[in-house]
Every structure is written in structure tokens, then in C-alpha cells.
């Protein structure tokens, strides 16, 4: 079990013990399809990702709750 933290697209992604995901301190619920070893979340309802970190980066980049795009 390992902990991981990085800054991505202006967000702080934290994975505790390989399983507990948070972005900017907010806990993120996700689903792990063990059969396919894919990760998904209600934040991005149309896609699955190969790793928890890929999912976290996608949430940080694409959801308006976390992205930092301005006019």
C-alpha cells in the first residue's frame, strides 16, 4: 500500500493507500471494475480508466468542479 500526491492542472491529487482518492482535499467516490480492472466515477459518466491516477487526472482536467479554465 502506497501513498501518492501530485499537482495536476492546478489541482492537488492525493491517493492514500492506493485506494482513497481526493482532489483538492475533496474525497472522490469511484468504482473499480475488478473484472476489467477499470476505474470510473460519477464525475465522468461516459468513460473508464486504466488506473486510479488516470481517473483522478481526468476528473481534475475535465469536470467544472475542479478545472480552472477561465474566459
Amino acid at each position: 500500500m502506497a501513498d501518492y500526491e501530485e499537482s495536476f492542472e492546478g489541482c492537488t491529487i492525493e491517493i492514500i493507500g492506493d485506494v482513497d482518492l481526493s482532489i483538492n482535499g475533496k474525497e472522490i467516490d469511484y468504482q473499480h471494475d475488478e473484472g476489467k480492472n477499470k476505474f470510473s466515477s460519477r464525475y465522468l459518466p461516459y468513460t473508464q480508466y486504466d488506473s486510479l491516477l488516470e481517473l483522478a487526472r481526468a476528473i481534475a482536467k475535465h469536470t467544472v468542479e475542479f478545472s480552472h479554465v477561465k474566459d
Partner: protein
């Protein structure tokens, strides 16, 4: 009536009307209410579930009513995004309709929904920046082709347990995009940006994407009128046919899947929506050498047809290196399922052996895994010209338990009468049986028939019989009905 047209064939006036109506709803705050209705719905209520299609049908129907209200045009329909002809360079992305792709940073800078003119909201309803698009930049560079749509259009049933993203075979799951060629999800992912999260209705193309999804479901319903919405019951609450769907307000129409199954009844008309002809099944000659075939695309289903001239035992079998899954339909109805099999044949091949009554049958063959391809051979053989031996009923003896397991199937029983007397032949059980009596000493002359003379919907024939051999034939009252029953003969 809502007339829904291909977004790429709208006239300039139609484009202007649609854009103006969307902008008017945005100004009223109504448009953002639709964004929030989708964004704050429970995931399991609207995606990766059976209600995915009826929920979104009701959702876009409700927006359409609002568009009609603000435009004053009762026939205004949401245009559909015809994916096979909807790539990045087509007219729906022009400045007079949706505007184009995002810039290097993903920000949409063209068209009526460009930065400065259109602000997206987050799931709390707060402004969250400009509309974003990144065509083909999120791992899915191409849109669904017509061949891929046709492939999904051939899939039945509507859905299967576990009623989620692992359901297979499932038309709903293939159309949603978790198995097979990926249709709906690909529309979202191909556009990217604002179309990726639960707030995806922020981009008006969301509604065109779902209008295309709804059109495909509508055409599938026309093609397979005997394939109903599933689950009828027994699924998660909110997913069954008569459950209220989650995150669906009361409105002009009901909030249950059953309330939205009929597009025509909702006043929805698609231009050029005549369903494409179903794929012609390949003919298998009974007793001929096996037909070579292959599943070239993951999730593909092959369809075969064969004719049975007379009742008798038959075997349908695949051979080869692939793990096949076979489903038998008929007689004469390509969507009435008889039975299915996975591994009854050698290795991982399918095999079905059963009595078949005369008629045309259909075999649908796919690979057990929806993610693989492979070749196989399929054949049908007759297991003898004579049908299975006729079961014998003993006067006053034990009942015989039997099953009508296929459409149009009938069971024949023989019995001997040695003393002239009154006899009663009757079925019991929950199946609606129909019985004819033939004889003496021949199966040809019919001397009596009955539908519901017994208990409940059971058949019963009571009559004087002279000595001789007689035959009772039992079938389901409905030509497509199946079910178990018992039969006996007693004196008196």
C-alpha cells in the same frame, strides 16, 4: 408534434430558430435547470442501467417542449447528430448552429455558444467558465459508423441482468457504449471538454447526441416489435417497467419507462426514419456440410435461417476454435426465442438438440466474450425422420408431466381403450392447454377438441370411446405460448 431532422440538413431558418430557442431558454434559466437535472441525478438512475434510454427520452422530450414554447413553433424538434456523417468538418459545427471545436486550450471561440456568449455551470448551478470542446482528443478519434450502428441494431434483447454496464447481450448496453462498438459514450468522448462530465448538457450538442440515441432506439423498437423493455420487474427500483424513474419531475407525460416507450404516441417524428432493412440471415440447409462463418468485430452477432419441413428431432451445432453462444428463434418468428446454449458442444462450442415443429427457424450466434473475434462453423442436422416415440397414457395410471417448450410445439400421446365406456382425458397445471383427440386406430381423424373445459385454463375431453388406439395432441392455446402441464386419462 416534434419533427426531428438531421442537424446537417437544417435550413438556415431552422438553424436560426433552434439557436434562438436555446438561447432564450438559457436567458430564462430554464436551460440550466436541465443541466442541473442531469448533473445531480444519481449515477445508477440514468447511466449504466436499463432506464438509460427511457430516462433520456423523457429528458430531451421535456426540453423539446420548452423549445416549442419559446419559439412558438409546436413542430420544433431537436435535431439529431447523425454520427456517420457528423465529423468535425460538417455544417452542424458552423457558426450558425453549434460553432466549432475548441482552441488549443479547448475553449470554444466560434458560433453562438462561444466564450463570452455562453457560460457553463457546475453541479451547484454556479458559473464555471466557457464551453470546452476537444474533438477526438480523448482516446476516441472517430465517430460511430453506419456499419457499427447496424451491428448494434441487430442485438436483442433490450437488456439483461445484472442490468448494468456488464449486461450482455443487451441492446441498451451496446447503444450506451459499454460493450460492442460504443455509440452514445463515443459521442460524448469524441466532443470532449464540457461533454465529458455529468454537467454535459452544458453543451447543446448533448441534446443532438441523445436525439440520435433516441432515434436508434425508436428504429430498433420498430424492427423488433416483440422485444419489450426489460426488466419488467425484479430489477433495481427505478429500472423496472412501471417504476418511477429517478430525477424525473412530474410533467406532461409520466415518469415511468412504460410512459415513454412509444415515440409516435409522444408526437415524435423522425425525418427519413424508415428503419434500415434487417440483415438478411444466411440460409443453412439442414443436413448439409457446416457453414463457415466468423465474428470479425467484437460484439457482432451472426444470424442464420433454416427450414424444417416436418416435426422431428434436430441438432444445431457449432464447431471450431471459438467459444460460441447460440440462440434459437422460431418457428416463423425471428424474435421468439426458443432456447439458447453456451457450451453443450465440444470444447466451448454450442449445441442445441430438440424436437422442432415444421417452420422457419433462426439461429443467432455470437462469441461468449463480447471482446473477442474468431471463426466457427455452424450446421443443422435432422436426428431421424421419425419424431420421438409417442408417450403412452395408461387409463387410470399415473399422470405424465410434459412441457411445451417452443412456439407451435405440440405433444402427442397414445392410449388403448379395451372396453367401451366414458373416459376423461385432462391436463392440469398453470399452462393454457388446447387438446385434440384422434382415432380410433389413426392419428388423422379428429373426433373431439377442447380448450378450457378443465380446471382453470386446462383442456378436458370427456366422451364415450369404443375399443381401439387413440391419440391426444396437446399444444399451448397461444401459438407462441410455452409452459409445463400434466396429462392423464381416467375412466368415467
Amino acid at each position: 408534434m416534434a419533427i426531428r431532422k438531421d442537424a446537417n440538413i437544417l435550413t438556415a431558418a431552422e438553424r436560426a430558430e433552434f439557436v434562438a430557442a436555446i438561447q432564450a431558454l438559457k436567458a430564462e434559466g430554464i436551460y440550466d435547470q436541465f443541466v442541473l437535472r442531469h448533473a445531480n441525478a444519481s449515477m445508477g438512475d440514468i447511466h449504466r442501467c436499463s432506464a438509460f434510454l427511457p430516462w433520456h427520452r423523457r429528458f430531451i422530450f421535456d426540453l423539446e417542449l420548452e423549445l416549442q414554447r419559446v419559439s412558438g413553433n409546436p413542430n420544433l424538434g431537436i435535431p439529431y447528430w447523425n454520427w456517420p456523417s457528423g465529423g468535425a468538418n460538417v455544417s452542424m459545427w458552423n457558426d450558425d448552429l453549434l460553432g466549432g471545436n475548441g482552441d488549443a486550450g479547448g475553449v470554444v471561440r466560434t458560433g453562438p455558444f462561444r466564450s463570452g456568449q455562453w457560460t457553463v455551470i457546475n453541479s451547484s448551478g454556479l458559473p464555471a467558465g466557457p464551453l470546452m470542446r476537444e474533438f477526438g482528443q480523448n482516446g476516441l478519434p472517430t465517430l460511430p459508423t453506419q456499419a457499427e450502428i447496424n451491428q448494434v441494431m441487430a442485438v436483442t434483447p433490450y437488456d439483461v441482468s445484472p442490468w448494468n454496464m456488464n449486461s450482455n447481450p443487451s441492446f441498451r448496453n451496446q447503444l450506451e457504449g459499454w460493450i460492442g462498438p460504443n455509440l452514445h459514450n463515443r459521442g460524448h468522448v469524441w466532443v470532449g471538454g464540457s461533454m465529458l462530465p455529468m454537467t454535459s448538457p452544458n453543451d447543446p450538442v448533448f441534446f443532438m447526441n441523445h436525439c440520435m440515441v433516441d432515434k436508434i432506439w425508436h428504429e430498433w423498437q420498430l424492427r423488433f416489435p416483440n422485444q419489450s423493455y426489460l426488466p419488467a420487474n425484479g430489477g433495481p427500483f427505478g429500472q423496472n417497467l412501471t417504476d418511477p424513474m429517478g430525477s424525473t419531475p412530474s410533467g406532461q407525460i409520466g415518469a415511468r419507462p412504460i410512459d415513454v416507450l412509444d415515440s409516435a404516441a409522444l408526437g415524435i417524428v423522425y425525418d427519413g426514419a424508415a428503419p434500415p432493412p434487417p440483415p438478411q440471415p444466411l440460409l443453412i440447409v439442414v443436413g448439409a456440410n457446416p457453414t463457415q462463418a466468423d465474428i470479425a468485430t467484437p460484439g457482432e452477432t451472426d444470424v442464420f435461417r433454416f427450414d424444417i419441413p416436418a416435426f422431428g428431432p434436430h441438432t444445431m451445432i457449432t464447431s471450431g476454435p471459438s467459444d460460441t453462444f447460440m440462440t434459437l428463434f422460431g418457428p416463423n418468428y425471428p424474435n421468439v426465442e426458443v432456447t439458447s446454449d453456451d457450451d453443450a458442444g465440444e470444447n466451448f462450442n454450442s449445441q442445441i438438440t430438440r424436437n422442432l415443429s415444421a417452420g422457419t427457424y433462426y439461429l443467432r450466434i455470437r462469441l461468449y466474450s463480447p471482446n473477442t473475434t474468431g471463426n466457427y462453423a455452424v450446421g443443422v442436422r435432422s436426428d431421424g425422420t421419425a419424431p420421438s416415440p409417442i408417450s403412452e397414457l395408461i387409463v387410470g395410471g399415473a399422470s405424465i408431466n410434459a412441457t411445451i417448450s417452443a412456439a407451435n410445439e405440440s405433444d402427442v400421446y397414445r392410449f388403448n381403450i379395451t372396453t367401451e365406456n366414458i373416459y376423461t382425458i385432462e391436463t392440469s397445471g398453470t399452462t393454457d392447454t388446447f387438446m385434440t383427440l384422434h382415432g380410433p386406430n389413426s392419428q388423422i381423424p379428429e373426433i373431439d377438441r377442447n380448450d378450457d373445459g378443465g380446471v382453470s385454463f386446462n383442456a378436458l375431453i370427456r366422451r364415450q370411446l369404443s375399443p381401439g388406439e387413440y391419440f391426444a395432441r396437446v399444444r399451448h392455446y397461444s401459438s407462441i405460448g410455452i409452459g409445463s402441464y400434466s396429462i392423464r386419462i381416467i375412466q368415467g
